[in-house]
């Protein structure tokens, strides 16, 4: 995997881990607080339900007492009219069942058809519970829970009837079935409820069809469902509500499904999703940005090293960091400088040998190099060519060493004033090849060697050593040929002065298309005619390689010559 993706993935892993941890903690806290709130809400509902049951009990007590006042003075006979009046009381007070006892005899009863009917709701007289029996015998009100043979439970409220006749003992008992209908009135919507006493369930809401053993837990499967609510246990709450005279405590129990917890889970997951998505985006952005920051200098180093290996000696990387990568870049530049200096030293040595060997002066070499570079500038300005710093470097090397092959030619031939014979001429013709071989063997300068090899080829093919023509001759070689010829024409010799510039220009133009490339000639002419040409210095360049070699500098190729900072040309 590339370093960039390693960095991005590393960031992704880190941020996603953090997001997962944050999300998990957030979800845990959210669910816990929702659960607490839900439980509190259920407790509040339970308090309401409990209050409603207590209120129902109070109403029943009030109804019982009111009905007792009505029937106290009535001695019931099996008369339809009297029974009708008792029924009117039932309807008036919304009581399900009322019974009147005279001593141990059931004197009268009335019940409503929907909930009050059934032998299991009949009040056994006296109740078996000793506390209740004692209270009734003592003429006090009593309340208790009665369970019929079929399991139906009912709440009994008894009161003595204070009739006028002395020695008469009559009681009125009001019954309220403890069933789903009662629970349905007190249980809030979306909750299931139960009444229990002494660990036994008396009734559930909603009632389980066909079951005589109601059980709230068995209804959990029918609780209203919400999103993800099935993942949570139903909420339960129990509250003792009625303390009856038989010692029974009737409790209200409520159960709801954890709908809010499920919804909170969904909300939490949504938030988590957003955090994860945001985290991924952030991780990618940060990772990519860091990768760019780290990889840019590494990339430059890689490119620089590769360029160096390909022979680009002018490589110099920009420095701007103070970290390890900055140090690495500095070391690379130092290494590149040393390699380059080694080459420059070799070139310098060769240049000095040529200078010592030939009759040309140092100024000639400097002028040729300067004019070559100036001609290139003109060509570039006209848009005909575009030279990289490395190409300029190689061009300078070639310009400096274009006659290095003359080392292998004897001085008597080089300095012969008269015409050369065929053998001498043949020897002279070998010097470009010899020069190219010398430069080639320096390594990394193959292109400069090729330029040198072709530096005496004529545009029309009449040159040597290979008789190349036109575009087959490297442009650099064509430039050097024209510039060398111009300098030779205009150079002052110890025994004669150089030709005037106008003559030289005429000569150049006359030979354009024959010896010289017309394009190069025109560029050179522009250099010659528009710039001042001192006898001992380059026309425009103040920083030629040759001068730099002599002065121990790098020739300006690295400080301003490179078009692409941090990368070879």
């Amino acid at each position: 995997m590339k370093l960039r993706w390693q960095l991005v993935v590393s960031h992704l892993v880190s941020i996603l881990t953090a997001a997962l941890l944050i999300g998990a903690v957030h979800l845990f806290l959210l669910l816990r607080s929702t659960r607490v709130l839900e439980q509190q809400s259920l407790d509040a509902s339970l308090a309401t339900a409990s209050h409603l049951l207590s209120q129902k009990m109070s109403e029943l007590e009030g109804d019982r007492d009111a009905m007792a006042a009505f029937v106290a003075s009535t001695s019931f006979t099996p008369d339809v009219e009297q029974l009708g009046r008792l029924h009117d009381l039932l309807a008036l007070y919304r009581v399900e069942r009322v019974e009147v006892f005279d001593g141990l005899r059931r004197e009268a009863e009335a019940y409503r058809w929907e909930r009050g009917i059934g032998s299991s709701l009949e009040t056994p007289w006296f109740p078996r519970n000793p506390n209740i029996a004692a209270k009734i015998a003592a003429g006090r009100n009593a309340t208790w829970v009665h369970r019929g043979t079929d399991g139906r439970a009912s709440l009994k409220l008894a009161t003595p009837l204070h009739s006028a006749a002395p020695g008469e003992h009559r009681w009125l008992v009001v019954s309220e079935p403890l069933d789903g209908t009662l629970l349905g009135e007190i249980v809030p919507a979306q909750a299931f409820g139960a009444l229990e006493a002494g660990g036994q369930t008396l009734a559930v809401w909603p009632e389980t069809p066909g079951s005589h053993q109601p059980d709230l837990a068995s209804l959990a499967a029918y609780l209203p469902r919400g999103t993800f609510s099935f993942l949570f246990k139903p909420l339960l709450a129990v509250r003792p509500t009625l303390q009856l005279d038989d010692g029974t405590v009737v409790s209200v129990e409520l159960m709801t499904s954890a709908v809010r917890s499920g919804e909170s889970l969904l909300v939490g997951l949504q938030a988590w999703f957003v955090v994860l998505a945001g985290g991924m985006l952030l991780a990618f952005t940060l990772g990519n940005s860091l990768a760019n920051r780290l990889l840019a200098p590494l990339s430059a180093l890689l490119d620089g090293t590769a360029a160096m290996a390909r022979g680009h000696l002018m490589v110099r990387l920009p420095q701007g960091r103070n970290d390890e990568l900055g140090a690495l870049t500095r070391e690379f530049n130092r290494m590149a400088d040393e390699i380059r200096n080694t080459y420059l030293a070799s070139i310098s040595t060769l240049a000095e040998v040529v200078e010592a060997k030939s009759r040309y002066t140092r100024e000639h070499v400097e002028r040729v190099e300067a004019l070559v570079l100036a001609t290139v500038e003109v060509l570039e300005h006209r848009g005909w060519v575009r030279f990289s710093s490395h190409q300029r470097f190689l061009l300078s090397v070639a310009a400096i060493l274009h006659d290095v092959g003359k080392i292998a030619i004897g001085n008597e031939i080089l300095n012969k004033s008269g015409p050369l014979d065929a053998a001498e001429r043949q020897q002279i013709l070998t010097h470009p090849e010899v020069g190219a071989l010398i430069v080639e063997r320096m390594g990394k300068l193959e292109r400069a060697a090729e330029i040198i090899r072709c530096a005496h080829e004529h545009f029309d093919g009449s040159g040597y050593p290979r008789g190349l023509r036109g575009e087959a001759i490297p442009l650099e070689s064509r430039i050097i040929l024209a510039v060398d010829a111009f300098d030779a024409m205009t150079m002052d010799r110890p025994y004669s002065s150089g030709r005037p510039l106008a003559d030289a220009v005429s000569e150049l133009r006359a030979e354009a298309g024959r010896q010289f490339d017309p394009v190069v000639v025109e560029a050179l002419v522009e250099v010659i005619t528009t710039r001042e040409l001192p006898k001992s210095a380059a026309p425009s360049s103040e920083s030629g390689l040759y001068r730099a070699i002599q002065s121990g500098q790098d020739g300006g190729f690295n400080s301003g010559g490179s078009r692409r900072r941090g990368a070879p040309g």
């Binding site: 009219e81 008036l92 209908t181």
Partner: protein
């Protein structure tokens, strides 16, 4: 994860409100079935709101958006309300595909009761019809006419017959029997004060005494009648199938048969058949869901459980084919009454005519003492003597 990110928790939860005037076992059975349906449908809350019958009709009439009330999504209403609910654009027509299913499942008369032409406006879920409940131990054979019941000599203190004289539904079969038909050729209710007075006069042995008067009108009359019957003090009375459970719980033997005709009448006594229908409000936010809930209440098992709990008669063809849900004493008697009965057209005109009849009978029954037979007509017409 994307789905999670795009769905809002609260928006995805439907909340349906069902209005009903069913109470007690009926309300519980409805609650139970709706809980089951909500459980099957997923994240749906179904809330049941109980009203009195008049309050439910009023709420339906007034719960239009302009009234600022939350409309009921569904309501359980008697089929004879459908006419006015449709006319006031409170309920909508059932989609054709749902009607197609109903045609395959329901008995024809039930669907007809909830229809106007080919348009169906509600899901009939149960039928109700009045029949004669009698104590077989007090009668040697099923009574052939009301007069025969009234002429039978019972032990002292035993009332021969009772009916709610304040309710047109109880008197209508006997009025129809007496005059030969309850409706004219155009289907209009024939409720003439003179005829009704004559029918009441013929029933006078039932209500003419102080005890009989109490057994034929008053608050919570059914409870009194059931108790009198259970105690052997009432030989027969007209009742609906919803009393079957109470009659069974009373421990008294009982039998059910179609209402006996008046011997002097010209036709059998055909009881009015009513259907309870689930209607869907046009204003419901969750119309499709409400339609689905209604459809599920007509499914076999749910419908059977509701009708078993409420002791109403089934409307599903399959229930009649299998005789399931009709078992138990009295079930077949009510079924026979249903077969002989005539359903109340769900038109507003009929509702108005029945309301008019109700007002007449209220005037007659509001007295604390039984009226003299000669005063009946005057009471019915409002010219109280």
């Amino acid at each position: 994860m994307l789905a999670l990110g795009c769905r809002d928790a609260s928006e995805g939860r439907a909340h349906l409100v069902v209005g009903t005037f069913w109470a007690g076992a009926g309300e519980q059975a409805l609650q139970r079935e709706l809980i089951r349906i909500a459980h099957d449908l997923g994240p749906v809350n179904i809330e049941v709101r109980r009203f009195s019958a008049s309050a439910l009709l009023d709420y339906l009439n007034r719960s239009q958006p302009r009234e600022g009330r939350q409309p009921l999504d569904l309501a359980i209403v008697p089929h004879d309300w459908l006419g006015q609910l449709v006319q006031r654009e409170i309920i909508g027509e059932l989609p054709a595909e749902r009607v197609l299913v109903l045609r395959q499942r329901l008995i024809g008369q039930a669907l007809q009761a909830a229809s106007e032409g080919r348009r169906v406006f509600g899901y009939p879920i149960s039928a109700q019809v009045l029949a004669l409940v009698y104590d077989p131990t007090l009668f040697g054979y099923p009574p052939r006419s009301i007069e025969e019941i009234l002429a039978t000599r019972f032990a002292a203190g035993v009332l021969p017959f009772a009916l709610d004289v304040s309710d047109p539904a109880f008197l209508a079969p006997l009025v129809g029997s007496f005059q030969g038909a309850l409706t004219d050729a155009d289907g209009n209710l024939m409720w003439r004060a003179a005829t009704v007075a004559e029918v009441l006069r013929r029933l006078a042995p039932a209500w003419g005494t102080t005890a009989g008067w109490r057994a034929c009108r008053g608050s919570d009359l059914e409870s009194l009648q059931v108790q009198l019957f259970a105690q052997g003090k009432l030989a027969s009375f007209i009742a609906g199938p919803w009393l079957l459970q109470a009659l069974e719980d009373s421990g008294r033997p009982f039998a059910v048969m179609p209402i006996s005709p008046l011997a002097s009448g010209m036709a059998p006594a055909r009881a009015l058949v009513g259907y309870q229908c689930v209607v869907v409000s046009r204003e419901s936010r969750w119309g499709d869901l409400a339609l689905e809930v209604g459809a599920r209440l007509v499914r076999e098992k749910a419908n059977e459980r509701i009708n078993h709990a409420t002791r109403r008669l089934p409307v599903l063809l399959r229930a009649y084919e299998s005789k399931q849900g009709l078992a138990g004493p009295g079930g077949f008697g009510f079924l026979r009454a249903l077969e002989q009965g005539q359903f109340v057209p769900a038109t507003e005109k009929w509702s108005e005519e029945l309301a008019q009849a109700q007002r007449q009978l209220d005037a007659f029954a509001s007295r604390t003492r039984p009226a003299a037979p000669g005063d009946i007509a005057a009471l019915l017409t409002g010219s109280e003597p």
